[in-house]
């Protein structure tokens, strides 16, 4: 007996109408949401997509009444209860909010590591959720808990139910979160970036799980994400948000095939699409400008073009040769200090890096890709050989190592943590020059200005502090600092991973253009296969500390031979709703790299399947790591 309502269609469960919100700040209130309106229909998956600061999370947290100190300037939030009555939940009391949370609307969050209470077992936390809205005995509730764990496919649930959150992997915790959110059969599940912090193979499993649960339980899902690939994979309808406004709302196919708003168009262009480089031998920039320029571009203006980057020079001997690089960390010791367990972070890694070349290193968390980067500069204790311009870096004394560090520079993932907040950016860029005693103060000043020009930061900003810049600008500053000593090699460790896609695209373009200008070699470390495909000449896939496959980008991406490479490629959500993948086939966790010290290392041999294309293989065959 659905009741008609002036704002709400009969098939809608949740309607947000004209919502404007403000947050208090140092100078009074700042408006963060501007007249946001959209509805969630019964049984659909609605994706809210946008970059950081777009207001996607704030909107749904406001619906759940999870925001403190927020001022609601206008708008209404309406919820259709199970019996068909429409409830205005815009300004309900704490007490009434608790009746709706869990029962009608439930929410899961981004960080599986922090969204479960660390001091209670997952069984206790699930039990609590079951008992909130249902008057049943504890035994019945416990049975319901087991059913929920079964529903979200937690293996060995009888034992797991007594585990504390820290004993579970990220993927397992997110399953527990989903189980908890479903404990009271809500009408709407709000998932706030639930897979962003997970590895891609685990993300695929969680996406498949949410999809199957939705079909089974007939619930509506609101999926908040920044990832266009995920949107294409699971959404029925899409709401695109930009700077606190809804700029586009449409069904998923229309959004991808004929985006109407310039922001959506630019966003889709900024996403590196897996497979877009098929058949092309050289890396290329993305055909996009900075977002503000994209949005102000008039229809008649020339569209930005892709630039091919063909700087790799294979005629000279390699710049860097890495042989049998091995890094172990101590994982556990006996009481008397004898090591019993080690983490085999990097095991017998070999590769060459040529002048002007980008070698992409890709893999999931714990595969050793970052440690490989650190090992090359002896930032962690490593064994093996790292030959750079004829000398073995790993055997050099620290005094001589300094000289080589000048030629190999790092760009790190987190632009917020890698710049000292109390040092002006000009000084930060100049610092490597001071350390290596390069130039007079006057020359150094000129160099800093030149570097700022290179990375597109106005010269006059050199006396500002890092907090005055956005994440993308900070990463540009970090790149300028890395370039200060005119290095030959830059190790980019997830350098664009924490940036929004539109910013990521411009920083990638910058890096590629700088490569062309300065003939740089990049060791480009990333978990993102699509980014790796875009920028790399050659690719190395790592798994559990080993290289499982390496070759040119075309060889690895167009003819993947190792089962793990194939699995990785299959798990990536492609931003094209007509090409939905079947994630159902993926299962399993990423195993640990901790071993007892006496355990033998697996004998891995490499088979050259075509010239330059190597695939790892053990005695048992090619199956290692799959």
């Amino acid at each position: 007996m659905a009741v008609t309502h002036p704002f709400m269609h009969e098939d809608e469960i949740l309607t947000i109408k004209d919502l404007s919100l403000s947050f208090p700040g140092y100078h009074g209130y700042t408006q963060v949401l501007h007249n946001v309106s959209f509805s969630v229909k019964k049984g659909e998956t609605l994706a809210i997509v946008g970059e950081s600061g777009s207001g996607k999370t704030v909107t749904m947290r406001r619906v759940m009444q999870l925001l403190a100190n927020v001022r609601t300037d206008s708008g209404r939030i309406l919820l259709r209860k199970r019996d068909g009555t429409v409830l205005d939940i815009t300004n309900i009391s704490h007490k009434d909010a608790t009746k709706i949370r869990g029962a009608d609307l439930s929410m899961i969050f981004q960080e599986p590591m922090t969204s479960l209470n660390p001091v209670f077992t997952i069984g206790d936390q699930l039990l609590e959720a079951v008992l909130i809205h249902q008057r049943i005995s504890k035994a019945q509730a416990m049975q319901k808990v087991m059913e929920l764990l079964e529903l979200v496919r937690i293996p060995d649930k009888a034992r797991r139910v007594n585990d504390y959150p820290f004993q579970l992997s990220g993927g397992m915790r997110q399953r527990v979160m989903i189980a908890m959110a479903l404990a009271c059969n809500p009408q709407v599940l709000i998932a706030d970036e639930p897979t962003t912090a997970l590895d891609v193979t685990i993300q695929a499993q969680i996406l498949a799980l949410i999809q199957s649960l939705q079909e089974k339980l007939h619930i509506s899902v609101v999926f908040i994400t920044h990832d266009m690939g995920v949107v294409a994979e699971i959404a029925d309808r899409v709401v695109v948000m930009y700077q606190g406004q809804v700029v586009e709302e449409n069904d998923v196919h229309s959004v991808f095939s004929s985006p109407s708003h310039p922001y959506t168009q630019a966003l889709l262009k900024a996403v590196p699409k897996l497979g877009s480089m098929t058949g092309r031998p050289f890396p290329a920039t993305l055909p996009i400008l900075e977002m503000s320029k994209e949005l102000s571009r008039k229809p008649g203006d020339a569209a930005p073009q892709e630039k091919t980057i063909d700087t790799a020079d294979y005629t000279k001997p390699p710049l860097l040769q890495v042989r049998n690089l091995t890094t172990h960390f101590i994982a556990d010791k006996t009481f008397f200090g004898r090591t019993t367990h080690v983490v085999r972070a990097v095991q017998d890694v070999n590769f060459d890096l040529f002048e002007g070349e980008t070698l992409g290193v890709v893999g999931e968390s714990g595969c050793g890709k970052s440690t490989t980067g650190y090992s090359i500069l002896k930032l962690v204790p490593a064994q093996g050989k790292v030959l750079f311009m004829g000398s073995d870096i790993l055997t050099l004394p620290d005094s001589e190592l300094k000289h080589y560090r000048r030629d190999i520079q790092f760009v790190f993932q987190d632009p917020y943590a890698s710049l000292n907040p109390r040092i002006r950016i000009g000084t930060a860029i100049e610092e490597p020059l001071v350390i290596h005693n390069i130039g007079t103060p006057e020359e150094r000043k000129k160099r800093v200005e030149y570097l700022l020009d290179c990375v597109g930061i106005p010269r006059k900003h050199k006396d500002r502090y890092p907090h005055e810049f956005s994440g993308g600008q900070r990463q540009r500053i970090a790149i300028a600092r890395a370039l200060a000593t005119q290095p030959k090699i830059i190790i980019a460790d997830e350098a664009v991973s924490s940036l929004d896609v539109s910013i990521q695209a411009t920083v990638l373009n910058l890096m590629l253009e700088l490569q062309k200008e300065f003939k740089l070699s990049y060791l480009f470390i990333s978990h993102n296969m699509a980014v790796i495909e875009r920028v790399s000449n050659r690719v190395m896939v790592m798994y559990l500390g080993h290289v499982v496959e390496s070759g040119t980008r075309m060889q690895v991406f167009e003819n993947p031979m190792h089962p793990y490479t194939r699995k990785l490629l299959a798990a990536i959500p492609v931003p094209d709703p007509t090409r939905r993948s079947n994630f159902g086939m993926l299962s399993g966790e990423i195993p640990s790299t901790i071993h007892r010290i006496e355990d033998a290392t697996p004998r891995i041999e490499y088979i050259e399947v075509e010239p330059g294309h190597f695939v790892a293989s053990t005695k048992e065959g090619i199956s290692f790591g799959a």
Partner: protein, 307 residues
Amino acid sequence: MLKYFIRRCLSILPVLLVVSILVFLFVHLLPGDPARIMAGPDADEATINRVRTELGLDKSLPEQYLNYMGRLFRGDLGKSLRSKLPVAQEIALRFPPTLYLALASMVWSILFGVLFGAYAAMHRGKWQDYTAMLVAVSGISMPQFWLGLLLMQLFAVHLGWLPVTGFTGKFKELILPSLTLGATVAAIIARFTLSSFLDVLQEEYINTARAKGLSERVVMWKHAFRNALIPVVTMVGLQFGFLLGGSVVVETVFAWPGLGRFMIESVSVRDYPVLQALLLLYSFQFVVINLLIDMLYAVINPEIRYK
């Protein structure tokens, strides 16, 4: 968990050894000659030398240390230079009053401190928060002798409900001094609980608890409370260590027969055996309390228990 406890227990042994050496050296570095003091102001060189030999002070420092530790293990801490009574006996006489005072103050301060802190956190930015923290800051800033005198004036002199000073073993006598001593500690704990609580309330699992539909009361007292308590436990332990050392001010104001006053008296007359024993006792107390805190940690925080 048992393995963790045994490991922690064993690990304090080297700490205790180092502490005992430091205490020993420290006392011997103090200016003044114990033999001269013991022999009295009128003694001649021969008497002083005889006393020095008797006390074993003519031997080398390592030798003296080993002798001292040997006697310590037999329960012999030497004799007080002042009263000529065994030091162990002197301390045993004054330890219980200090312990009672410390325990009572601890109970007050944990009760009030944690409640005030938690209450202020739950009403962040409202009048309850400001009032609670105003009281807390007053507690930290008010000198103990002043607060003690005020309480004494009101409850003992004016109203006559409680005795003015002294301790003969009655609970009534414990109330005023423990409140005075506890006020400072309660205020410190309240501040600490507040900041710890505010940190925890930022955590995503608090949103998870709310999103489940739990009432604000359960979110606060079940989900936030236990997590917020983990850092507070360390604070409480450290404060207890200080209280066990005896408070000079409070013990003086209330004529309390405890260790704090004893310490001051012993310093003024250079009673080396007593000082050495008291310093050892204080350091051992701290080490043991820290051990207990570590174990309490394991009980509160499952992550430590399972490592």
